[in-house]
Amino acid sequence: MVTSAIKDPLREKSQFIQRAVILFVIIIALVGILVFRFVQLQVWEYQTYQTRSDQNRIQVQPLAPPRGLIFDRHGELLAENRVSSSLDLVTERVESLAQTIQELGTLVSVTPADITEFEGRLKRKRRPFEPVALRLALSEEEIAILAVNRHRFAGVEVTSQLIRHYPYGELFAHAVGSVRRVNEDDLQRLDPVTYSGTKFVGKRGVEKFYERSLHGEVGYQHVETDAHGRIHQLLEKESPVAGQNISLQLDSRLQIAASAALGERRGAIVALDPRSGGILALVSQPGYDPNLFITGMSSNQFKALSHSVYTPLFNRAVNGQYAPGSTFKPVVGLAGVVHQAVDWEETIEDRGFFKLPGQSRMYRDWTWTRNNTGGQGTVDLHRAIYRSSNVYFYDLATRMEVKNLLGFVRQFGFGQNLAVDVADASPGLLPDPVWKQGFKGEIWYPGDSINMGIGQGDLLVTPLQMAAIAATLANRGRLVRPRMLLSSDAPLPEADPPPPLPRIVGPSAQDWEKMVDAMEAVVHRGNKGFRGNGTAWAYIGRDIAYRMAGKSGTAQVVEIRQGEEYNEEELDEFNRKHAWFIAFAPADNPLIALSVLVENGGGGSSVAAPVARQVMDAYLLPQLKTAAVSQRSGRRPR
């Protein structure tokens, strides 16, 4: 072929035509491949791509239901919803995150803290294309600026949502609880459908317990969006169902008074309506502003809250477990009477200390002195209560069989959570020989009974439990379950009532009255000279306008060694004694029962009793004034 070196136009032309024909055939074959590909895409796989195209443009967006409102017993709003706008980024659609954030920073304030928190939120598990908040709580002005500049940014959105707001801030933090941002653990636990639009979930208190009812039912909208996630049209909508509004037993005026009575001190107050068990006030101090958990706080703020030695996030009223100290004595006294270890007339000699036969260990009274000149003298049960004689109860405890003592005490609900709807309430601890063997590997010594006689040892109670004990004493043995819920628009699924509690078995009506009398003497017996007055009289009994029955208690935090005196001044703040006071009033027709705990406060009568008095005054004085005319004495609760 290559032999001819001379140009041959005709041969060249025919060769060209041959080549052109071959190439055209190849071209047709290649176009055939294209046609095949389009038939594959548009005919055989049409359904797949049709669906994919619809999934592209149609998005199902969950609509979060507005959370149910929470009111107090007088209709005062304790938890509401507010509109809050946030600046969100859909990171999948943002080209350069750093640059976008920097440019946004020129329009609205974006602090380094905001960016740190944003990065934290980015790391959390989330749904694809889910917006991540860069700034929360935008001002009106910032919203306007962002709206004007919106076209400059892809993947940047301003979204408005209802967020929880607690108008009283810190005041009800431990009573009502709070919601927190849904986190990864929550996503594991919560129903993904119901919570698909929800950013906050009840984490504490009432907000947690009634989460199901408060949350409501999620709604949906089908929207057509473009590739930048902007909504072009609404195709279909199913509205969410708002959560239930609920009213609580809480009385905000009493709550304010209780919080003020405790002042700056650490501690807890729980006040109940003894007739219903309704929780009128529940204070734990120090507290915190639950709104910070919703609008966001800096990591330093959070560290300050979570690492403080004063544990403001800890709910002392419900989860604080302390030895009840002498507030436990009325229960022990009744146990002794019921099991005939003592009777109301029997007396002992209190020299300020108690020893078991044949043992040298000395169990001291609070009036004990180094030269053994203390003691309350001749003491019967009545006097043992109002003078809070330790020696009487040491003696009483040793006279009883352990199982009888524990069996009677257990009826009051020690070691159990009797509350209907208090989330995560601690049960406390009622030790017994089985527990001690299992937990400490030791047998039950007589010393354990002696300690229990004055509410020390391993026995632990919460302020909520002690308020319930006060209510039981006020009710002369009728147990009530503490409860938060007063009413709701519709029955709540959570409010499945637990079985009613049986009455305390054993004490006669007279026994109850005598015990109440002794507790009244704690407050009202005065002007009787040296060691003749009720322990609390000097502090609260001189000018009281109603009959209050109470019992003080002082719980040891550290053990005082044999032969040493307790010297408050020398002890470190956290080793000082806890001050307790339980009370109810009016004694004959109780409207309120409460417990006061002042952590490391010192003496129950001197520190906790005045707090209790202040709370009771706030609750009763207005009622007694208005009802002064119709007040009938001697009326008994059912």
Binding site: S14, L34, Q50
Partner: protein
């Protein structure tokens, strides 16, 4: 037989040759077909630019200029092209070198030359015509089929500018320029065996070539095999374009009704990916109509080339037609997910002026070769 074919033109051909359009060196059939594709393209483009009057008018002006280029190119006698081919080629290579030195960088590629600060000009585009013209010039007075030496020279003529263009980097245009030049070599009678060897050599060199590619180019090739591996990054384009095409079905969603294109899921909808808009809005039928029109243009172009009476004319015309095919094949195969994504527009349809201008000028040259006496 071929001699007879040349000498006995069909009756209608003779009629047309004597007709009015031939007097102004326009082939009516090719002209009509090109006009039809442009008109159909404008209809789709109207949808693809979201009915923007500004963009639409700009495109009509560009197409007007492109038509002017066609008419002017058709008026120049083929002798002119033969005479100037080597100079045009040398000028073009010079400009490509200049681009690499002083060119304007857009999105990481140096493709543009600033002309006195007034307008920008892409020399690589110009080479789509200059390169096949230079190869045709080289072969036009040499015996064919070409000797081994001639093939090597021709390859050098092709690969120097193609290499310069790939270095910009602009792989798409480089492929088209190389394709145009190689088409001349094939049409000149390159033994098929040699073509087979070249393929084998290329296949053997493929692993080595892989390392010369830019990262983004490698990513595009990988994405072709598994677009879902990076659905929001490199795979996004191909997922969205196949979704657009597939969801069009047989009859399409209707003009202006494409959700993929109008809701911005489809990237580059008005430029390189416009075939996906056609597929989505006009369905398989629309695509088949377009492919048929393209095939008719190619058939007519090859027919005109075969009828040319000079080697130069045949080779150049044929190469320009083949380049046109490579253009459309690479584009459509890329958008439908058969080839990696390279920046090649859909000929005569995509938004933009430069490619339309060269294509139209190319058709003008084909017409010139056929309509001027003695060529």
């Amino acid at each position: 037989m071929s001699r007879d074919f040349v000498r006995s033109l069909p009756t209608h051909e003779r009629v047309l040759r004597s007709g009015g359009l031939y007097r102004i060196h326009i082939d009516p059939w090719l002209f009509l077909l090109v006009m039809t594709v442009v008109a159909c393209g404008l209809v789709v483009l109207y949808s693809a630019v979201d009915q923007s009057a500004v963009l639409f008018r700009a495109q009509i002006i560009r197409l007007g200029l492109a038509f002017a280029a066609l008419v002017i190119a058709a008026q120049l006698p083929p002798q002119f092209y033969v005479r100037w081919a080597p100079y045009i080629y040398v000028l073009g290579v010079g400009l490509l070198v200049l681009v690499l030195i002083t060119g304007v960088s857009v999105k990481g590629s140096r493709r543009w030359l600033d002309v006195a600060g007034i307008t920008r000009f892409q020399p690589s585009e110009f080479m789509k015509i200059a390169v096949p013209m230079a190869v045709a010039w080289y072969f036009h007075d040499r015996p064919l089929p070409p000797s081994f030496k001639d093939v090597c020279v021709a390859l050098a003529i092709v690969l120097i500018p193609a290499g310069l263009i790939v270095a910009q980097p602009d792989l798409g245009t480089g492929i088209l320029v190389a394709g145009a030049g190689l088409a001349v070599v094939v049409l000149a009678g390159l033994p098929w065996r040699w073509l087979g060897y070249a393929f084998l050599a290329l296949a053997a060199a493929a692993p080595g070539l892989w390392y010369t590619l830019q990262d983004y180019q490698r990513q595009r090739i990988l994405t072709l095999f598994d677009p879902e591996s990076d659905p929001l990054g490199a795979g996004w384009n191909i997922i969205q374009s196949t979704t657009a095409i597939g969801s069009g079905g047989i009859t399409g969603k209707g003009l202006l009704q494409g959700t993929q294109s109008h809701l911005d899921f489809l990237p580059e909808a008005r430029t390189d990916f416009i075939i996906a808009v056609i597929g989505e809005e006009l369905g398989l039928l629309g695509v088949l109509v377009l492919l048929t029109l393209y095939l008719l243009i190619i058939a007519r172009g090859l027919y005109l080339a075969a009828g040319a009476e000079s080697t130069f004319g045949r080779l150049l015309s044929g190469a320009l037609v083949l380049t046109f095919f490579v253009y459309l094949f690479v584009n459509i195969a890329m958008v439908s997910g058969l080839l990696p994504v390279v920046g090649v527009p859909l000929p005569l349809v995509s938004y933009g002026g430069t490619s339309a201008l060269t294509l139209m000028a190319g058709f003008g040259i084909i017409m010139a070769i056929r309509t001027h006496k003695a060529w």
